[in-house]
């Protein structure tokens, strides 16, 4: 595929350096090719590029008619819906800035962002979101207009500032006729250096920051990614991750606009898996936990298969472990092994890939968290080319990507195209790339703290280059601490090692400025529940199950295995886990224990569960604790439990033979 040229900041409209230009170009070049699909009313409704262009045109003019000006911010809230994606383009056509918000955040959380971003217009999915905004509106008076996609239940809302996207588009079409040339003029007037989009990072601490990205940031990075992986206009992508997240913006919007491939929106949250199978994407992104859940599902379902089937399954999976990845990496493999692999491909790998909906995958990414090696290998051995990438919003995702053929579970690969990386003396990773963000919105000091004048960005991650030239991330730089005996303590590293066990869902590790490392553990209700049923242990719910001794025994084994690994690592052998406990409730974003992207907020948790912390660093065996919890319906209540605390066996450090 020949990619159109791009010089940053080019003024003439031939240079495809803005989304409107890209869109109009696609409408010209591949007008009849499907740009978007949405599972709606039972079938995959489709829109070609030229249809999308028209829809966007109408919507943009509609917004203009409502008074949307260049530079205005357009809040976008809802599940992945075609029209919400069009809204992004529409805003950009008017020189405005789309600001997607996390659809599951509660009204209060929205206030800050809406206010901070000076949002005047909002386009939302449905009644749920409208209600939130109406709630917010008093406190964030800057909002002037709200457009909604799905009119269900909104029939009797009459507010002057509330109308449906349809209506807006209708007005837009009239406006378009009334003002010929307006659209094309404003759509083509933008340039690469203009602000393209604002994404709010769900900061682990403090208020979210609005990351301002220029068109060049987004488009050039997107294109570099496409070039490096050789993506074409024929890719199929399933858009199911929050639109407010930079990854979705890159994979389901930017790269589609650059390469011209197709975006598919699932019918509803409940049907994502079936929709995934129906579409069978060729290019796929998922955070590790998704792959984890998938694998857990596979194992659970296979448990119930007939003995013969299980035997066959395990035989071939074992073979795949030894052969699959080698074949995928193009390493030499004996003919016999190839044949067995082919056989396995017919009986297991092929059907499995297909049932999981990964049957047509050319390229799958995972990022955001470290992924368990055996999870990673499982998919690769099936012949699915899944790769880790390392990135962040400030750099429009791409910093490092694992090159084909050089995929190691414990590294994040080599720098992406046009990306420079350096490690400063206290181990923090810095990078410089075309994707480097413009600034934090209305927050110069944070900008200054994160980004040097010559364009280097502090990732806030500690890491180093392994001898094979691949970057290896151990932890958040600020989290890397020291035990009282002065040796290095990398909580995330420990947490991840534990989370690689399918039974363990979340882990919070402590040890900084303490005598030894210890952990809170969240068991995986589904996996452990299933495990319990097969041993017919009765349990009433999470809290009950978590507190069972047999479960503790099982978790203890996991902990001790991790200790064994740690003991082998000269750097970290001292941070073996001495004490652990299984938390009586699941960590939950609604309680502020996790970020919206499900990162643990360690300090917050440490405070929240003070008594338990105390218990970890004393020698009590059982600790009573009361916790405030928020239920789905917003009510709050108190959860009380007696949590057991256990000691884990630790191992004497073995000097790595070097």
């Amino acid at each position: 595929m020949s990619l159109p040229p791009n010089q940053p900041g080019g003024q003439n409209s031939e240079v495809l350096d803005t989304f409107p230009k890209l869109l109009l170009n696609h409408a010209k070049v591949r007008g009849d090719k499907i740009a978007m699909r949405e599972k709606d009313l039972g079938i995959w409704q489709s829109w070609t590029w030229s249809e999308v262009a028209d829809e966007v045109r109408a919507l943009a003019c509609g917004l203009a008619a409502l008074g949307f000006k260049s530079g205005d911010k357009l809040a976008i809230i809802g599940d992945n819906r075609p029209r919400l994606y069009w809204a992004m383009a529409a805003a950009q056509c008017l020189g405005g800035v789309p600001v997607p918000l996390y659809q599951d955040s509660v009204a209060e959380e929205m206030i800050y962002v809406l206010d901070n971003a000076d949002v005047r217009f909002a386009i939302v999915e449905d009644q749920e979101q409208v209600d939130k905004l109406l709630e917010v509106k008093e406190k964030a008076p800057k909002i002037e207009h709200i457009l909604f996609d799905d009119p269900r239940g909104l029939r009797h809302y009459d507010y002057p500032f509330l109308s449906s996207i349809d209506k807006a588009q209708e007005q837009g079409r009239q406006y378009d006729e009334a003002h010929p040339g307006f659209f094309d003029q404003s759509a083509l007037s933008g340039s690469g250096s203009d602000v393209g989009i604002m994404l709010y990072t769900s900061g682990t601490t403090g208020n979210p920051k609005g990351v301002v990205l220029t068109n060049d940031n987004v488009i050039i990075t997107a294109r570099n990614g496409i070039i490096r992986e050789g993506l074409t206009e024929n890719e199929e992508v399933l858009a199911y991750l929050p639109m407010a997240w930079v990854g979705d913006n890159l994979f389901s919007y930017a790269q589609s606009y650059v390469a011209g491939f197709t975006i598919n929106c699932p019918e509803s949250g409940a049907t994502v898996l079936t929709d995934l199978r129906e579409i069978g994407p060729t290019y796929y992104f998922a955070p590790p936990r998704v792959y984890e859940n998938m694998l857990t599902q596979v194992m659970i379902r296979m448990e119930d298969a007939s003995k013969i089937k299980q035997k066959m399954f395990h035989y071939f999976m074992d073979h795949a472990k030894s052969t699959g990845t080698r074949i995928l990496d193009g390493k030499p493999v004996s003919l016999m092994d190839r044949l067995i692999y082919k056989l396995g491909n017919f009986f297991v790998y092929g059907p499995l890939r297909d049932v999981l909906g990964l049957g047509r995958i050319k390229l799958a990414y995972t990022a955001g968290e470290a992924i368990g090696p055996e999870i990673f290998d499982f998919y690769r051995s099936l012949g699915i080319n899944i790769k880790q990438l390392y990135g962040q919003t400030e750099g429009m995702v791409f910093i490092c990507v694992q090159p084909d053929g050089e995929v190691y579970a414990d590294t994040v690969g080599t720098p992406a195209i046009d990306v420079e990386i350096k490690i400063d003396d206290n181990g923090e990773v810095l990078y410089r790339s075309p994707g480097v963000f413009h600034s934090y919105y209305k927050n110069p000091e944070s900008t200054a703290k994160t980004k040097t004048d010559d364009g280097w960005v502090f990732t806030g991650d500690a890491g180093f280059f392994a001898e094979n030239g691949h970057l290896k991330i151990i932890d958040r730089a600020k989290d890397v601490g020291k035990l009282n005996n002065g040796t290095l303590f990398a909580p995330k590293y420990i947490e991840n090692k534990l989370k690689f066990f399918s039974f363990i869902k979340e882990v919070v590790a402590f040890g900084n400025e303490r005598d030894y490392a210890s952990v809170f553990i969240n068991i995986d209700l589904e996996a452990v529940g299933n495990w319990a049923e097969r041993r017919n242990l009765a349990y009433s719910g999470y809290t009950d199950l978590a507190n069972q001794d047999t479960v503790y025994d099982m978790i203890q084994e996991c902990v001790e295995q991790v200790n064994l690994d740690l003991s082998k690592d000269p750097l970290l052998s001292n941070s073996q886990i001495k004490r652990f406990l299984v938390l009586h409730k699941e960590l939950d974003p609604d309680d502020g224990e996790l970020t919206r992207t499900r990162k643990v907020r360690r300090n917050f948790i440490a405070e929240r569960y003070g008594p338990l912390m105390g218990a970890l660093y004393s020698d009590v065996a059982v600790q009573h604790v009361e916790t405030q919890v928020k239920f789905e319906d917003g009510r709050t209540g108190v959860l009380t439990a007696d949590v057991k605390v256990r000691n884990a066996k630790t191992f004497t450090p073995v000097k790595a033979a070097s």
Partner: protein
């Protein structure tokens, strides 16, 4: 449900009495239903509620009394004619077509609207297919409305009770009825399901302006969503009026104190 104003009376029942042999099921019942309202018939089990519905949609023929429908007195009609008059209903103990999928059940609800000849259907491609598709669209809208996309192609036999109730509601809606009769739509449901169901009832009344006559044996949810309520007790009519009026009616209170929940 604050101040809602309704159209004229579309269904008026005067002095309805119904007996099976010696057993008198309904005794001189009179009430009317107005365009676009949610009209509830409540009463303890065996109060004759279901019989009342069966009278309205012509399954039973009352010995006495007259039924005025859309201004004209309705003569004794055959069971299958009710649908033609724009009266659809659901059933107390689910009466779905067990062998068919959710989709087909709801499609069947549109049988009266499908016109293509048997021959056309035999050939299928062309006329019949076009018709199938345009009705499929309507049905999909209902599926979407009732949020049952995930079970679209599941045989209804395999569905849990609550879901079956929803599918049955869908089948009734498919006929785009003017009056929708709901026979204990919330029977045997947990609180959450009841809330869902009443939301759907309200939305239907709201989105399609469908007049709804629903019967329930417990006052609970019904009182909140109904505009007017008739109370029956062993075939007698105890009270008729807005929920508040009915609630404060002495006979009703007595009758209900008699009933355990």
């Amino acid at each position: 449900m604050n101040e809602r104003n309704f159209g004229e009376v579309i269904l008026d029942l005067k002095g309805i009495s119904l007996s099976f042999g010696a057993m008198r099921v309904l005794n001189n019942i009179s009430f009317n239903v107005r365009q676009g309202e949610i009209r509830s018939i409540i009463g303890p089990n065996g109060a004759g509620k279901s019989s009342m519905l069966n009278v309205i949609n012509g399954v039973y023929h009352p010995q006495e009394g007259e039924i005025t429908f859309r201004g004209e007195v309705r003569k004794e009609m055959k069971v299958h004619e009710a649908a033609g008059f724009g009266i659809a209903r659901t059933f107390q103990n689910i009466a779905l077509f067990k062998g068919m999928s959710t989709l087909d059940n709801i499609m069947t609800g549109r049988n009266l609207k499908m016109k293509s000849s048997m021959l056309a259907q035999a050939i299928y491609w062309g006329k019949a297919q076009k018709e199938e598709i345009e009705h499929r669209k309507k049905v999909e809208e209902i599926i979407d409305f009732l949020e049952i996309q995930a079970i679209r192609k599941t045989p209804v036999g395999r569905l849990p009770y609550g879901m079956q109730k929803r599918v049955e509601l869908g089948r009734a809606l498919a006929a785009e009825p003017e009056i929708l009769l709901l026979d204990e739509p919330m029977a045997g449901m947990n609180v959450e399901e009841k809330e869902d169901m009443s939301r759907f009832v309200l939305d239907i009344n709201d989105e399609f302006g469908t007049t709804i006559v629903l019967i329930e044996h417990d006052m609970g949810v019904v009182m909140d969503i109904s505009d007017r309520v008739v109370v029956l007790d062993y075939g007698r009519q105890l009270a008729d009026g807005t929920p508040d009026v009915v609630r404060s009616n002495q006979d009703v209170i007595d009758a209900y104190l008699g009933v355990s929940h």
